[in-house]
Symmetry: C2
Subunit: 322 residues, 2 copies
Amino acid sequence: MAVYTDVAAEDISPFLAGYEIGELLAYKGIAEGVENSNFLVHTSRGYFILTLYERRVAERDLPFFLGLMEHLARRGITCPQPVKNKAGNVLGRLAGKPAAIVTFLDGMWIRRPTAAHCAALGTALAHLHLAGRDFSLRRDNALSVAGWRALYEGCRERAHKVEGNLEMLVATELEILERDWPHGLPQGVIHADLFPDNVFFLGDKLSGLIDFYFACTDTLVYDIAICLNAWCFEADHSYNVTKGRALLANYAKARPLSHPEWESLPLLARGAALRFLLTRLVDWLDVPPGALVQPKDPREYARKLRFHQKVKSARDYGLVEP
Amino acid sequence: MAVYTDVAAEDISPFLAGYEIGELLAYKGIAEGVENSNFLVHTSRGYFILTLYERRVAERDLPFFLGLMEHLARRGITCPQPVKNKAGNVLGRLAGKPAAIVTFLDGMWIRRPTAAHCAALGTALAHLHLAGRDFSLRRDNALSVAGWRALYEGCRERAHKVEGNLEMLVATELEILERDWPHGLPQGVIHADLFPDNVFFLGDKLSGLIDFYFACTDTLVYDIAICLNAWCFEADHSYNVTKGRALLANYAKARPLSHPEWESLPLLARGAALRFLLTRLVDWLDVPPGALVQPKDPREYARKLRFHQKVKSARDYGLVEP
């Protein structure tokens, strides 16, 4: 939640003149997205989001992200749609940073999702995977199994500051996942960060998906595993099988899982838990004490990992064998 | 620039149901205002600003601030207008904090104001003072001369950390101002914080005034002195007499200054410089090193104070004797 780059009206006006979206009437820096600076822009044609990409997003990846949003919107997925400038480009520059304008999406994210929200999410995730099948660009997932050891090495010596046995938990798990990580499962575009704050609802109806800046090409069922971790645990860290079943059954209704995909779910859920455990651990250890922005607690994902370690099969998540 | 209180859609929806502003479609935390949490709210009836008042704003002052905005809007001043809830109140409670909804105002603030902007400001400030004349509520200015010594005492011992001779500058000035501060000049509602970021423009046309949370009852010409400090100095700290003349002449056209008001301007300008020097000094010394939010530099106002100390009469600011 931040605005990293301050942009003056005197600079934003000429930038917008390069688009056919009318005259600038107002803009506000908004607290959305942890990686970029975002502004809500009001013009004589309506409301838009202006994003300035900060250093944590690689400029070479922007054509993938923006192209994906265009591709998905054409296939009926409700997501922010990049607006082309008069030269036909979706990517421009403002205040020395890459910048893009996307359409404004109504809807709110749900802090305490119910099983009905999880059901809607399952359907939307399957539709996202189906719509992404013929997207022509490719982007490797830097935060999948091949990238975890480097994260671990960078923080192993300080991990005990967060929790006594965290280093051992991660070390052991990492070895298992590196050895057993499944290959050959159906791949495609995954969102890779579909937490509740990236899913908008209007009432109980899912109204859109946002923040595609971790999207990449990877194992589809890994995206499901990320969502199980993000949506189906309660505040007391217990797994809610009703929510899990709702998510999985509705996903499978729109895109049935193969038997190998079903079998891989517990291991992928462990991987997804380890991925967020590691990135949160790095952020946690990097933030100086007393900082205004409190990073997310990595221990939440250590608990989830320990839960998944005890899971026998995908049946435990609420999904019957296909 | 901050959102201090996180509000869930699940909480904001029932709050909005108490108003006749339609159904909630979206809301975004916005980076505006340093004292409160602000959200841009989209409903089926349009766009609004929802403000949660944080601890730096005293709850007992809210009827003054909100009543003033209503009063001014009725008299043709373009400013955010508080929206009444179904019970007829402009003040409610959300997330344990006092909360209000005001209308959304188009316009942008100008980072590098020209003399034309200063001229427009002068007119708007005079109109604000005229429109406030028959406002029935009263609020003393806690940040006028009677409040400065306490601020000074709280930071005098650490002032040298910011600039070697700052303690002496403030101590000497404070004595003079406490002795010579003018009494009996025309009083009324002043904005008291009309910096460029609180004045919106659409093109060269001033489109509205915002952020009335320092407004109070005080000497009108002191408000002019605050604006001279905030608008008429260049980045190199030089006073721009063209801008000053534009501001003052246009103010006086709408509300002519009396001779005593004209005479008091240099001393009030010193007071205004000292007031912002002191509050910035307190903030500067209170912020831990390495914090994300960099406080504003108090030395800017030390330089302005030294400029005003050398001023002979209001003529030096560009205003001819009335």
